[in-house]
């Protein structure tokens, strides 16, 4: 069918991942941080699917499904935490909770 190289798919995944990383590092708003994490997860999934498709194996897609399940669990918890944070500190600044440092 199509014939683009695996590198292009992986480079795309890398770029999206790095954009997510930039977002994670530069945003203060915890909702944006969480979105950046989602971007990174999605990019990782993309890399898996690309790799799986390189050898025509379903394993890459299986991994993506696991990532999906993990993302769903993570988001549900994280959003609940965001609501708690907002209720307690009246702000979405991720650094507001820095008193909880270990």
């Amino acid at each position: 069918m199509t014939s683009f190289s695996m590198e292009h798919g992986l480079i795309l995944a890398t770029i999206i991942f790095m954009l997510g990383l930039i977002g994670l590092l530069s945003r203060k708003n915890i909702v944006f941080i969480l979105m950046s994490v989602e971007i990174m997860l999605n990019a990782a999934g993309l890399a898996f699917v690309v790799a799986g498709s390189r050898w025509s194996q379903p394993d890459g897609q299986v991994m993506f499904i696991f990532i999906l399940a993990m993302a769903a669990a993570e988001v549900s918890i994280a959003l609940a935490l965001i609501i708690l944070l907002h209720r307690k500190f009246k702000t979405l600044d991720a650094d507001a909770a820095h008193n909880m440092r270990g």
Binding site: L21, L24, L25, S26, R27, K28, I30, I33, A94, D95, A97, H98, N99, M100, R101, G102
Partner: protein, 634 residues
């Protein structure tokens, strides 16, 4: 039937596990049923095995049962394997059978304990017997060592059974630590054997030792000395005998078990089992004999002065084990094992009898506060007298006479024997007769000083009767040349242990008869002396005690020839002193420094813990860059 062998040690272990896990929730009846029942079954199986072994002996009088491989490290692979031959058969018979009688006896003796303690007692006892069986049946020295240490552990647990009294705990610790000294020596001996033969299998070692090590070579002497160290520790011989008198802190059945069936005979067993090594090192054989002779005399003198009935018996055990060592030292292996068997019967009988008296007189152990017990407990009295006669080796009718006589005869005539050892043994026999009769007269004769508290029931009396019978007829399976020459036991044992290098023919039957008469006279004389000094004219002894020299001699003997004082001065005090000096522990400073450093690093790193999410993410990203750079470009 021999295939049932594995059940012999397995059943006591099973009993231990049941009692240890569920003992707290059992009634006393169930605990006793489990504890006694397991051992009874074990004894029954042993008898079945013995019958089938004697009826149709396996090839080479050796039956091996490999259960499973224990460990396998670099070619060194000791198995969990059981080994049955005439020697171990005698031992397991004594251990299970006498052990069973002692267990049965304990059912009533320990009835005052509450149910948890009761179950604990039987659990320890079962474990004790199981460990001893493991020791005796082990096919390799590693497994033997396991049983050896198991026995040590159980003796610690049982001596300290009434641990709420600190003195009992101290006695337990003493027993544990003193035997540990010997165990360390034995471990070193095992290391040497592993180094030399790459195996701990007894059979292979015995086969290889004469081929590899020449007679009196340095290696064999050191190995034999190390094994002797272990044996001396466990068997309470000079110079490690000090723990045994203190071990009387435990309940009386425990003492009976330790002295008669288990623990202290382990050393005898070890030397008999490894006799090939000792034969290669005649110097060490001589040492064994000398240790035995010295021990039996020293312990005998100490026994004369004791006022605690159990301590008399304790010293007498040391002394009798001394006889066994003497026998081992002159190469009379079968005589040692024979004496072990007879000793097990009469010593168990004496301890249980003493226990019955103690039980009846409300835990009174001081003989000078007893007296006249003869009329109160006639059955106990008669069985005790039979046991005492056996201990004192009264001629012809007691088992003790035959076994002790065999040792003395072989010491006199044997290839490794010497006249000196013979006379030491003879002197010891005299002392034995004296303190034995002293014990009997003080306890059972005279006017009553206490009143009867409890009356021993049938559970306690049946073992006494059985043991009394055994300690009498036990001697008839080995009759000397003068009395029909019926060496059933020696012949049986000689299948596995070589006979002492003497022929009865060498010295002639006359010598033997003469020696027997001497021994008989000595024994009867001893009893007569005891009768004179402690029944007829006790004031003689009292007067002697009043003199200054008598006073100090009495003290010296009473405290076991001052060994405790010597050890205290030599080892305990210096260590105490060092501990005092080094109160703030120099080595501890190193650990403090480590802790201090760790805390410092912790402080440093805790600066990085800002609590800011993005800071951490930045750390991860930076780490990723570093890691990938390293992987890709280096």
């Amino acid at each position: 039937m021999l295939e049932l062998l594995w059940m012999v040690p397995a059943l006591p272990f099973l009993g231990y596990i049941i009692l240890a896990l569920f003992g707290g929730r059992m009634t006393k009846g169930i605990s006793a049923a489990v504890g006694v029942g397991m051992l009874g079954l074990s004894a029954l199986i042993t008898i079945v095995i013995a019958i089938s072994f004697i009826a149709s002996p396996p090839e080479g009088y050796l039956f091996l049962q490999t259960l499973w491989k224990w460990v396998d490290v670099a070619g060194f692979s000791p198995a969990i394997a059981l080994r049955l031959d005439p020697v171990s058969l005698v031992f397991i018979f004594i251990i299970t059978f006498v052990g069973f009688l002692i267990h049965l006896y304990s059912v009533q003796y320990m009835e005052e304990e509450d149910s948890t303690w009761y179950a604990r007692f039987f659990a320890y006892m079962n474990l004790f017997v199981g460990a001893m069986l493991m020791l005796v049946l082990a096919d390799n020295l590693l497994l033997l060592y396991l049983g050896w240490e198991g026995v040590g552990l159980c003796s610690y647990l049982l001596i300290g059974y009434w641990y709420k009294d600190p003195a009992n705990g101290a006695a337990a610790r003493k027993a544990f630590i003193v035997t540990r000294v010997g165990d360390t020596a034995m471990a070193i001996g095992l290391f040497i054997l592993v180094m030399a033969f790459r195996t701990l299998n007894i059979q292979e070692i015995l086969r290889h030792v004469p081929l590899v090590w020449p007679v009196s070579s340095q290696a064999v002497v050191i190995t034999a000395l190390m094994l002797l160290g272990g044996a001396v520790g466990k068997s309470a011989q000079l110079p490690l005998q000090t723990w045994l008198p203190d071990a009387m802190a435990g309940p009386t059945p425990v003492s009976a078990l330790i002295h008669a069936a288990t623990m202290v005979t382990a050393g005898v067993y070890l030397i008999a089992r490894m006799h090939v090594i000792f034969l290669q090192a005649p110097e060490v054989m001589t040492i064994v004999g000398i240790i035995g002779a010295l021990t039996l005399i020293i312990a005998g003198f100490s026994a004369i002065t004791q006022f605690d009935i159990k301590k008399v018996l304790a010293y007498s055990t040391i002394s009798q084990i001394g006889y066994m060592f003497l026998a081992l030292g002159v190469g009379a292996w079968s005589a040692a094992v024979f004496h072990f068997m007879i000793h097990a019967f009469f010593k168990a009988l004496l301890f249980l009898g003493a226990g019955a008296v103690i039980y009846a007189l409300h835990h009174e152990q001081n003989m000078f506060k007893m007296g006249g017990v003869k009329n109160m407990l006639p059955l106990t009295f008669w069985t005790f007298v039979i046991g005492s006669a056996s201990l004192a080796a009264l001629p012809l009718v007691t088992g003790g006479f035959y076994s002790k006589d065999l040792i003395l005869y072989l010491a006199f005539t044997g290839e490794h024997g010497s006249k000196l050892l013979y006379f030491a043994g003879l002197f010891g026999a005299l002392i034995t007769a004296v303190y034995t009769s002293r014990m009997v007269f003080l306890t059972f004769y005279g006017h009553e000083k206490t009143h009867l508290h409890n009356r021993p029931g049938p559970v306690m009396e049946v073992p006494l009767i059985i043991l009394a019978v055994l300690s009498t007829i036990g001697g008839f399976i080995e009759l000397p040349g003068t009395l029909g020459h019926f060496p059933l036991f020696s012949n049986f044992i000689q299948n596995i242990l070589p006979s002492p290098g003497s022929g009865e023919g060498h010295e002639g039957i006359g010598t033997e008869l003469m020696l027997q008469i001497v021994a008989a006279v000595v024994a009867i004389g001893g009893v007569f002396i005891g009768y004179l000094l402690y029944y007829k004219k006790p004031e003689t002894v009292q007067n002697f005690k009043q003199t200054p020299s008598g006073q100090s001699l009495y003290k010296f003997w009473l405290y076991g020839w001052g060994f405790d004082w010597v050890y205290d001065t030599l080892f305990v005090k210096p260590i105490d002193w060092i501990a005092q000096v080094n109160k703030s522990d120099v080595i501890d400073l190193i650990y403090t420094a480590i802790a201090w450093l760790t805390r410092g690093f912790n402080r440093m790193f805790s600066f990085t813990q800002t609590g800011r999410l993005r800071w951490y993410a930045m750390g991860i990203a930076f780490g990723a860059i570093v890691a990938i750079t390293i992987v890709v470009f280096l």
